[in-house]
Amino acid sequence: MFKFKSLIIPFAIYIILIAIGLSQPGLWQPIMYIMFYIGIGVALNNFMGLTGYVDFGYVAFLAMGAYGMGVALGYFTYLGIWAIPLGFVLALIFAALLCTAVGGVALRLRGAYFAIATIGVNEGLRYLIEGAKIWGGSEGIILSGKLRKTFGPEFANYLSTFVADAALIIIIFIASVITVYMINSRVGYALLAVREDEDAAKVMGINVTKYKLIAFFTSATIGAMIGASAWTLKLTYVFPEDVFFIHYTVEAIVIVMLGGAGTLLGPVVGGLIYGALKYYLSVILPGFQLLVFAPLLLVIVVAFPEGVVGFVKKKLQERGIIEYIT
């Protein structure tokens, strides 16, 4: 279908990245590092880009995913290999539960109020887990030993060096398809209206709450899947301090903005620039990379206030290629 033309460029980017990672020595992890950033960008964009709501507490969904997988592998290790699918299911369930709670409460708020109320959710949840000593409290869940005992060291290693990465890649592919589908469907149009003028959208017959929740839910569950694979499976531990670290949300927002919100290509390009820049700077200028990175970021913001893809889109407005850019 013509709508899916806009998947060509992002998929090409993914495939090229993966090819580089597989063929060049030492670039697999960096590529996965970039993919992680692309992933959280695409995931957050499904909500932030499409609805215009900023969710500062977004990392909580990654955390829920991480805990979902952590709980499955940590407390249901006896299920053997089945603990992994269970982990993804739990990740989904935890994220959905949080989504319902936050959606019910915070989504009534508008703009910056929503954005910052979600910080409250994120921090509140973290301190609840630590303070009430849920799931190991601040000691978290440590899995390596269990995995190695259950699956043997080979397979345990395979889990965190292959399965986790493969899962992340699959999630990103699926998330991209979902994004394009959403943008081009009724949902996308409804959200476009919501983003621009929520009250006018209502009068137009749009069930604003419903569509916001759809986007919120989609974005949250993708985030949870990323948390489950890129964090728990790959790192083999879950520490609350780490998984609720708000810096990740800020990074995701930066990526979405850097590339251009509300487009699919935006967060992909944003994640690519962000991840690649940071990686290479930390290799070339260890210790000084952020000192160089920050001004670069500022230059990009000032030059492309609507994001790199937003800018390109505007330039190409009347050209045929625009169809390939969403």
């Binding site: 020595p25 030492g26 670039l27 697999w28 992890q29 960096p30 996965m32 590092y33 992680f36 301190y127 630590e130 303070g131 409290g137 601040s138 000691e139 978290g140 440590i142 390596s144 030993g145 190695r148 005992k149 060291p153 345990a156 290693n157 965190s160 060096t161 790959k234 790192l235 083999t236 531990y237 520490f239 301090e241 780490d242 940071k278 990686y279 290479y280 700077l281 930390s282 290799v283 070339i284 200028l285 260890p286 210790g287 990379q289 952020l290 160089v292």
Partner: protein, 419 residues
């Protein structure tokens, strides 16, 4: 970017006219030069560089007819797990490094372990103290610093020796995985020693006011307090104990007091406060002591070590224990490689199993099975008369413990542990 060219990788032959073949051997290190572990990261890097420099100036590592010069290949991991993984891989594949100095902190070490294992490189932890790292079954991860479970036990021994009547122990520490591990182990140990736990509370990371806990603590009226977690909260704990005028006979705080900044920040309030340290300037490890114990000495003497450190870090810099533990990790690699007479990872790891030596940092030997450090002893330092003194164990001490420490009021009037 100012450095267009990346440095040459792998073992490039150095230009030497004659003699044995000289090659450069890279030890790789993802290091936290930014982010929350920037301070420890910087210190560790200096330690590694000092050790590498010493090795190179003292004949390198001799394997067969080859001589290896050591260089540290490091990247900044920003104290973030995602970066650590990329950098480990880069070190293992692009830079073809076989010997990794693990990143700072237990969490980051854990993040690095699966990747290191995948590429079959050895990882030596100089900043990941938590015991659990070595309970996961990683064979290629070895430890140079003493594990978390040992941090506060020496202090308890010391108090018990000094004052068998000081029974009322309180614990106030940061709710984080590391300080929890330290204090849970300490608590068990204390109970064995016959202490009575009169108060135990944690505070969340990032706290800027401990008064709710300390008001309670005051009421519990303890003789001895152990606690803390990291730099900032450790300083805060001491500061607020003073503000609230809570007098305790002996206090040991994790991490913070071991840095000069502690005294600079608190002034005389720091007097008498103790801390566990992996190492301290003035600790009595020397070639002579090694000889007496019948173990081999390796690496710079303390004077050499401190001089080299100051040449690198600046005249005003004081080496913290992070410097020594990182240096020791480098030395342990060198020693193990020489012992194995090979740079093969498996052979070196095997050589480590019964490797035992002493360096400026103290003893080094590991549990062959888990890789956990068993040889090294922690010391207890105490601020006395503006100086950090080693007060425990007696064999390493260069001063007597100041016990009970002066009260806050006395300290405010200028009384120090020396006067």
């Amino acid at each position: 970017a100012q450095q267009p060219e990346e440095k040459p990788t792998t073992t490039t032959p150095a230009a030497t006219p004659t003699g044995p073949k000289e090659e450069t051997l890279y030890f790789g290190a993802p290091i936290s030069l930014s982010g929350k572990f920037a301070k420890e990261g910087q210190m560790s890097l200096w330690g590694m560089q000092v050790a590498a420099q010493w090795i190179n100036e003292n004949g390198g590592i001799k394997v067969g007819n080859k001589v290896y010069k050591v260089e540290i290949k490091y990247y900044d991991d920003e104290s973030k797990k995602e970066s650590v993984q990329s950098l480990i891989e880069r070190l293992a594949t692009v830079d073809k490094v076989k010997f990794i100095l693990a990143p700072y902190s237990s969490g980051l070490t854990m993040a690095a372990a699966p990747i290191a294992e995948k590429y079959g490189v050895l990882m030596n932890s100089h900043g990941g103290a938590s015991d659990y790292i070595f309970e996961q079954g990683y064979y290629y991860v070895v430890q140079t610093l003493s594990p978390a479970s040992k941090y506060q036990t020496g202090f308890l021994d010391m108090v018990k020796t000094l004052d068998p009547d000081a029974k009322r122990l309180a614990l106030v520490y940061e709710d984080k995985e590391f300080s929890r591990a330290v204090h849970q182990a300490a608590k068990e140990y204390a109970e064995k020693l016959g202490f009575e736990i009169v108060y135990e509370k944690t505070y969340p990371a990032g706290t800027t006011d401990l008064s709710p806990i300390l008001n309670e603590l005051k009421a519990a009226n303890p003789d001895v307090l152990i606690g803390g977690g990291h730099f900032a909260d450790g300083q805060l704990l001491a500061q607020q104990l003073a503000e609230l005028n809570i007098n305790i006979k002996a206090i040991s705080i994790l991490v913070a007091p071991s840095l000069p900044a502690f005294y600079e920040a608190l002034g005389t309030k720091a007097e008498g406060i103790s801390a566990p340290a992996q190492w301290e300037t003035g600790v009595k490890y020397s070639p002579e002591v090694a000889e007496k114990l019948g173990v081999e000495w390796y690496g710079p003497t303390q004077e050499e070590f401190i001089k080299m450190f100051k040449d690198l870090a600046g005249e005003d810099a004081e080496p913290s224990y992070h410097v020594a533990e990182a240096a020791a990790a480098v030395l342990s690699y060198a020693k193990a490689i020489e012992k194995a007479q090979s740079t093969d990872v498996d052979r070196v790891r095997e050589a480590m199993n019964d490797l035992e030596f002493m360096c400026v940092y103290g003893m080094w030997s590991i549990d062959p099975e888990t890789g956990k450090q068993v040889g090294h002893d922690m010391v207890i330092i105490q601020w006395q008369n503006e100086e950090k003194k080693i007060v425990w164990p007696e064999s390493a001490a260069n001063a007597k413990p100041c016990y009970p420490m002066p009260t806050w009021d006395e300290k405010a009037e200028g009384k120090t542990c020396g006067s």
